[in-house]
Point group: C2
Chain length 719, copies 2
Amino acid sequence: MKIKLFIILSLMTTLAMAQKTLTLEDVMSGGSNWYNLQPENKYTAWWGNVPLETTADEVKNLVTGKTLVTVGQLNEIAGEKVVRSGHTVRFPYGGQPIAQVQTANKRIQLDWKKGNVVWSQAVPEGAEWQDFNTTSRHLAFTRQGNLFVLTADGQELQVSKDGSTDGSNDIVYGQSVHRDEFGITKGTFWSPDGQRLAFYRMDQSMVAGYPQVDISQRIAGVTMDHYPMAGETSHQVRVGIFDVKSRKTTWLELIGAPDDYHTNLSWAPDGKLLYVFELNRDQNDMQLVAYDTETGKLEKQLLQECHDKYVEPLHGLEFLPWNTSKAIMQSRRDGWNHLYLLDVATGETEQLTAGEYEVQQFVGFNKKQKCAIYLSNAEDPRTSCLFSLNLEKPRCTMLGSPEGVHSASLSEDGTMLIDRYSSPTVPRSINLIATQSVRSRRPNLVTNILTAKDPWQEQGYKIPEITSGSIKAADGVTDLYYRMVKPIDFDPQKKYPTVVYVYGGPHAHNVDARWHWCLRGWEAYMATKGYLLFILDNRGSEWRGREFEQATFRQLGDIEMQDQMEGVKFLKSLPYVDAERMGVHGWSFGGFMTTNLMCSYPDVFKVGVAGGPVIDWKYYEVMYGERYMDTPQTNPEGYERCSLLGKAKNLRGRLQIIFGYNDPTCVPQHTLSFLRACEDAGTQPDLFTYPGDGHNMFGRDQVHLHERITRYFDDYLAR
Amino acid sequence: MKIKLFIILSLMTTLAMAQKTLTLEDVMSGGSNWYNLQPENKYTAWWGNVPLETTADEVKNLVTGKTLVTVGQLNEIAGEKVVRSGHTVRFPYGGQPIAQVQTANKRIQLDWKKGNVVWSQAVPEGAEWQDFNTTSRHLAFTRQGNLFVLTADGQELQVSKDGSTDGSNDIVYGQSVHRDEFGITKGTFWSPDGQRLAFYRMDQSMVAGYPQVDISQRIAGVTMDHYPMAGETSHQVRVGIFDVKSRKTTWLELIGAPDDYHTNLSWAPDGKLLYVFELNRDQNDMQLVAYDTETGKLEKQLLQECHDKYVEPLHGLEFLPWNTSKAIMQSRRDGWNHLYLLDVATGETEQLTAGEYEVQQFVGFNKKQKCAIYLSNAEDPRTSCLFSLNLEKPRCTMLGSPEGVHSASLSEDGTMLIDRYSSPTVPRSINLIATQSVRSRRPNLVTNILTAKDPWQEQGYKIPEITSGSIKAADGVTDLYYRMVKPIDFDPQKKYPTVVYVYGGPHAHNVDARWHWCLRGWEAYMATKGYLLFILDNRGSEWRGREFEQATFRQLGDIEMQDQMEGVKFLKSLPYVDAERMGVHGWSFGGFMTTNLMCSYPDVFKVGVAGGPVIDWKYYEVMYGERYMDTPQTNPEGYERCSLLGKAKNLRGRLQIIFGYNDPTCVPQHTLSFLRACEDAGTQPDLFTYPGDGHNMFGRDQVHLHERITRYFDDYLAR
């Protein structure tokens, strides 16, 4: 793949008719006018292989427009108002005219042809996480640390042992574990037939509690949140399999150490085996292991991946629907994330995709033509496009537009998909596409459902010029992509205050080929106030391969800042950038970068706003922290050098740190320790906090926050 | 007493030679040059009736200058270096050549004439509070909630029962109770002969815990601080008497409710009775009660004081040395705090002092001439002068200067005292004075020990002009006193940004006749930066009588702000005050006032800095809070109206709130609740905090804090 150098795409210029100025109420998702400025949309769903469009009042065929069923009809069948909008209706059984609805109190299935209630069940009181299996209609749910199954016929079975510590804050069942790292998002996994439930049990009684103070009570209260900090004692996870019929739990006899990671649980199609990706705490030795689901015993160790830095299993197995002896797995073993075909009997693998790009998502199978559908950035590192790979013939076809960032939803048989994408100039496009892999390079577009116009332009707002391009990283070789937002009414003869927005950490990027180059609303707002914005994805960020990401290993912040300073060098080369008025802003890892840049380059950055920053990686959690930094015990000099506590004394510009007072991710100890270090060193950061909020602010707090951030730059950078 | 209207005393004018500009390092007690700018001092002590001066190397007669003993001699006698400076030596036995020294590890008494160690004892390990009785040489001390006596001969006796809850954070022995209100400062009280120990036992197990988070640990920890909030369940106090000889404890059979207040414990001279001032939780009904110390039973209820608003017993009984059937007590029953002679047999009282002024402190007795020595502001509400009242003849004499604010230390027989005072023009004056009450109005000065020169002037610093005067309160009648600090190089043709510094709460004042009118160092610093400072003691503040203080009852903030706005009206009448640049700053009650003024008068105050503010009195503690506000249950509309949560929406100017992250007095819930209210209302206060600090900042943090406060006014008020 050739990376095009220094592409600048001019997106939009101010129209003569555009008079309105964007406000925070327009551009923030918590703003009062945000919804009105979103690109036009259509809501879609699949009923087996029939594409549907849902509206507030009805559900209709996406292609023909013919009404399937109305909201009124469904409520009439239910005998009560269970459906408030067509968007909330699901169609779990292809070919059967059954609509499923879940309200706060009940789960109900309605036959809109026969006009009767097929099945209905009250939602268990106090249920938190709910995992409903449409095949068996059993529901797995959690309540206060315990795990239950509510059977289709209404029996509530407690899966977790009701001991003195089980099912407490100390030992939790059926919840996501390992702090949602390693691709883990949940803690219950139904077998294909819906009769057995694999689940996580996490013992965190040995993990220190971080005190989270709730000031909303009459007298402030405290919750001790088990938070394993890097190098400290971690939690211990087990995997159980509960058989609904026998009501017995089988525990897997997991290999490895008690604090190893057990990720991406995958049931064999016949339910006999459960595949688990097992990773050691050091995160440099990963094995794929199969367990017998009847006995819990080790069946086989299928394959192993090791790496000097780290291995990061993020995806489970996807068994071929037409040949269950093989499954698709993902691996970065050749330096880029690619698809492999795994023989689950032998552990042998065959590489399916290859090249200097990354497979970003496995979407599913076209079962008829035996194709694997996936998203990759093979076209351009900033894109995410759809591909169909025929697994029998060596043939790969791009599906849909070669531009922009796509997402897809497959029909039941996988022969069709609904593609949604935006590109720098297209706010939203929805298309129905056939997924067979063909010889021609052009995709086989079936129907364009919607191509939205620019709502900002249509409503007469002034839109800043947004461009993207690339510069060289500090290594002189690697291309880094940026987005630049020029002030409204840009005059190249003027010099503008410039704000670098930064994230910079792994598993995220800020520049891609979405609408407006994925401009954040606040940047547009800042442009209306006369700022130039610059956003650069440094080494360490996502979708650029293993070496690009792992350049930062054991020294988080160093390489990232070097690359950002190349961005600054580029900015300083532009005549309209005021090098005397450079600011920086970022959140989370970007808060770490912002604080770090302010303290490391006090001559360059005059003003910074750091949100929810990491200050010292020893206060961050085991899973993420140790992957990139190892432990404070094994990498003491790295932790020391990367800590901002020692840099607090260098602060000269204006730095405001903002954090959620109840941030459970990047705990307040980070910010507070930095304050203490500044106080001891005689430097003067500024501070703000949102009581009751976590790592991020939402709704009205988000508007308040960005008014605050903007005001800080207005106070100290603009003038 | 006639209050002089509108006195303005011009203190100092800039000298031609003064060139140096004061910095925060000069004026803050945590600053590096603060010590060098303190007025000259001498350290004094009494050895019976012999006045002493202590120096680093020796102890000498204050009058003759003759050396008593040197530090070297004492260490030689001890056989080790127990004395580091003459200042640490005490002389507990008048007439006996015995020096007492306490180090971290031992308590030792040395006879400097015989040259031997009279007595010595190791300080018990882990001892916290220590109360040593020089008569019996028994030591009472606390350790982790428990109370012990270490006898003179070295036996350690545990006074507190060692049960499962006794002597824990839930039940504490021998500590100050009722959160140091009602004049309580400690929890152990030796009988006159030092053989019996009265002590407090406080059960706070029923009091909700406020979570205090310690971020200095590897992983932040939490302590639950029993903090009884207004209207909530309070702690319960008992009083025990431990007999060292019998090793038995007698518990007083206290009258009243379990959460009543038991204050100002006073032993009868013969040890047979213990007098306790008993106050109901509503604080409007006080009784003086005597208990039999042998049986713990009620002996008699001597007198009762009630008031619609509140009664506040702050002082114990002072028995006449020459007639133990009578004692001096203090009461505000006639509207001003005065001395009364109590007949402890009948409870009858005779008023000793009277007038529209307040007795501020009872100093002691002249035992020979039968005089009571006390401090009052009879001369001027801003002064605190010494008086000697002959109790046998109706004769009262002022001792020492009629100006300034005095403090005194009496000789053993009370015939002499060492008087220390400062006045607006005198930085420090030390005098040895005879205390007999004589007919002449002039005091009988014996020796002027020291009159310090102005160290700022001597060292060539520019000093601002500091004046004091009075204006009328919002009631149009009451005089209120202010201090005004003019900017350095004051030019009456200019208009200056003006900052009102405010406290405004009870039991404190900001304007008195100390050196520089008790100018705070920060004000001098602000004057160097071109600000005018104004400080006014509103109604509700101290030493102005009951009616003046109680004007604010059940409505804290209202009257106080009305009076402060009279100050603003006065400021606006001055041509050199820039009414467009008015700021306000205060801490604690002053933080409450600052926040309140910013939200109540957004058109007047452009910038405010509020430290450790009360935001809603329901978050403040029972003892102080309910005295002035009653409870949220009995005064709901008062709590509602005085809460700043409802005023958060009015904030328009720039307000920075600063608090100690571990403030145990005005808990962080105040500030954090206000932030949340502002966030919900869409207003934008600023914030800062000092992790690890309590209600106030000390040392280097104090310098950091004032740099911060100053910067805020520089940022938003000066320009």
